[in-house]
Symmetry: C2
Subunit: 143 residues, 2 copies
Amino acid sequence: MAADADALRLENQICFPLYACAKEVVRKYKPYLDEIGLTYTQYIAMMVMWEHKKMNVKALGEKLYLDSGTLSPMLKKMEAAGLISRTRSAEDERNLIVSITEKGEGLKGRAAEIPAKMGACISITPEDAMALHGLLHRILRQM
Amino acid sequence: MAADADALRLENQICFPLYACAKEVVRKYKPYLDEIGLTYTQYIAMMVMWEHKKMNVKALGEKLYLDSGTLSPMLKKMEAAGLISRTRSAEDERNLIVSITEKGEGLKGRAAEIPAKMGACISITPEDAMALHGLLHRILRQM
DNA sequence: GGTGATTAAATTGTATAAAATTAAATTGTA
DNA sequence: TACAATTTAATTTTATACAATTTAATCACC
């Protein structure tokens, strides 16, 4: 049957364009993120920190869909760069509290232009962006 | 202004759900791919090989949005696993020709069920899948 | 109060990814 | 035909990612 064979063709995958598109978009960020010395993963972590100021690794990981295997080494680098500090919670020493520093706060101003620059770079209509956002969140929620 | 601050909130990003969703979907594949001994990247490479039988690294990379830095070591592993063979083109020795082997062809049968299993796993309506596919390809093309 | 189960991070091992550089082969052209 | 420019892979370096394991702290329950 053709159906079986077609199901294994790259063009018929739903996951592949998702994978490729995510990769390419992250790559588009690189020149802008380079200017402020962040990687994409560090950038999304900083977004959470700009908003919440303090958060333990587990909660940060839930927001970013990342685990300690990825976050532990990255947060150490970000601490070394002076953007965050890492301290154990006094109430429960299992929790590592990540806190934004003055320097980390200061970076927000320099990051402010990035969303607009990326928007100009991708050129998607607001309607399509909204539709895409909705579809992706529906899939994420359902998993 | 609230607009500036909002632009740097994780929930307002279009890229983040794309990144997170792609990652989570690839992760969903893992148990099924483990059964046939492939990683996700190897799986999409095999899809191209099942269809085209022979292809040089550059063409394969264009299809997969990957470069030789990723493909070279991966293709060596796949050759070691007996799924493909790697030979230099006689006409132009710069080109490395990747060819599917008997064993590689044989794996297609065992992979045949994976698309259906993943479909059951993600539960998205055909309309939404079509819409998502269209949106993602539009973005990819435009980049 | 002791102890087995649970939880949170860190660590270890494996596999991508991308940028930059290198090496080898081919092409274009003076 | 030399030889500079280009092209194709491979290599090197850095940074994720994730699964599995380990370690340390806390909790539950007797």
